[in-house]
Symmetry: C2
Subunit: 255 residues, 2 copies
């Protein structure tokens, strides 16, 4: 059912295979490439690069059409990518995460299951892109960003990406965009992260919530500025997390 002469794209996400965002991504790209979708069988928001080591993982075919096959997987977003790459007949040209329901800019790159998909694809040497819309609603309106999504995918199919570098693409809620901005990751911090509730049988339980606060000045080269000013933010992200600038200083410590 797959055409060896067309580009092949692997898609996953962290909202699960039924989410609106991943299905809009699929619909947008069917005329561009053949698609293999391996996505979690339910929500995995905040899964980061988690992988399943204490349990086995299974996957099941949901549907198969000309140029499209969709699997649901019991594992994490990263498991989905690892398992798809293990079982696919052909190596994909691109790995995509999303379209996520919610903002993955700034430090959220570390928590995001969508970016887990993307980092995993990138670590496997495949050009990888994460797409997110800053709207958590299940029926969020992805339509205005879809032409940009298609254009970014076509550009990466053409140019590819440097080894060890992937893209984190975030779109604000808007009816139309001013364009795209190439950005760096904004410095920020999550605060007031827990809502404490009394348990009916004693003790307390905690729900994760929180307020995000930017901890740097207003700077037009960061991804929050782009989102706040009506642009789609494209932040290149790298696998190498080494803080090179402190290596010399550390060598002077008595370690």
């Amino acid at each position: 059912m797959m055409n060896p002469n067309r580009p092949l794209i692997l898609i996953s996400n962290d909202d699960g295979y039924r989410a609106k965002g991943i299905n809009e991504l699929i619909d947008t790209l069917r005329d561009v490439a053949d698609l293999v979708v391996m996505a979690p069988d339910g929500p995995r928001s905040g899964a980061a690069c988690a992988m399943t080591s204490e349990q086995p993982v299974r996957y099941y075919k949901v549907k198969e059409e000309e140029g499209l096959v969709v699997y649901r997987c019991t594992g994490t977003p990263v498991d989905c990518v690892k398992l798809a790459l293990h079982t696919m007949q052909r190596r994909p040209d691109i790995v995509l995460g999303g379209i996520n329901h919610g903002d993955n800019s700034s430090v959220n790159v570390h928590y995001s299951g969508t970016m887990g998909v993307v980092l995993e694809g990138c670590m496997k040497g495949i050009p990888s892109i994460g797409f997110s819309l800053c709207d958590h609603a299940p029926d969020a309106n992805f339509k205005p960003m879809l032409p940009y999504v298609k254009n970014i995918v076509l550009s990466v199919l053409k140019h590819r990406l440097p080894q060890g570098v992937c893209l984190n693409v975030n779109a604000p809620v808007a009816d139309a965009y001013k364009g795209v901005r190439i950005c760096r990751q904004t410095q920020g911090v999550w605060e007031n992260e827990w809502k404490c509730c009394p348990h009916p049988r004693g003790g307390e339980y905690y729900w994760l919530t929180g307020n995000y606060r930017i901890t740097e000045g207003n700077s037009p080269d960061n991804d929050h500025w782009a989102l706040d000013n009506g642009y789609i933010a494209i932040t290149p992200v790298q696998i190498d997390m080494t803080a090179y600038q402190v290596m010399e200083e550390l060598k002077n410590w008595d370690l």
Copy 2:
């Protein structure tokens, strides 16, 4: 029970509060500082920076002694840090992850729950260090690395760390070490990652496994070289994942 004049250290891990590694870390540091331990109630290996968004989280006191309190938590390693910081009376001077049973060097920084602890502490602006021994065994011998662990903690208490930078410390299995090396993250890839097994009631299930392969030349500045040559590897890691070196090139694409 805590002394406001002593340093305060928050400790978590991804192997759970009962693991040998975290208890050796506690024993090593009791004469250095007061300790708050908030660790998962069971194994969370490979949890990365995952956080629990679909379920509530609870925590329970396991023990309290002079200068030490230990809690077990139903959440992920990152949840443990977030919850401890939310509930502690005083901000800790350092956040520690480990000592992990297993190697967290190279690309494993992305999957590691131990480094999830450390990245979370760092994102909260607290000097943070992850300690790992390259031995998965439950009864691994941490003893040779403990004097280095204590010295590194004392050095960070003295010098602190630059904002947005934390340390990933890995020790090879050895009776004695040649010393420490300040390193960068080695480039490598995980391959052959799944063991497929037939399910007794039909279909197949998959266990995560794999072989790690280094994809760069033999270079004495990377963390794998240090581990292979009898050194403890100290890799500074940063929160900012921006690939600055490709930003200009991307601006020339038709995006």
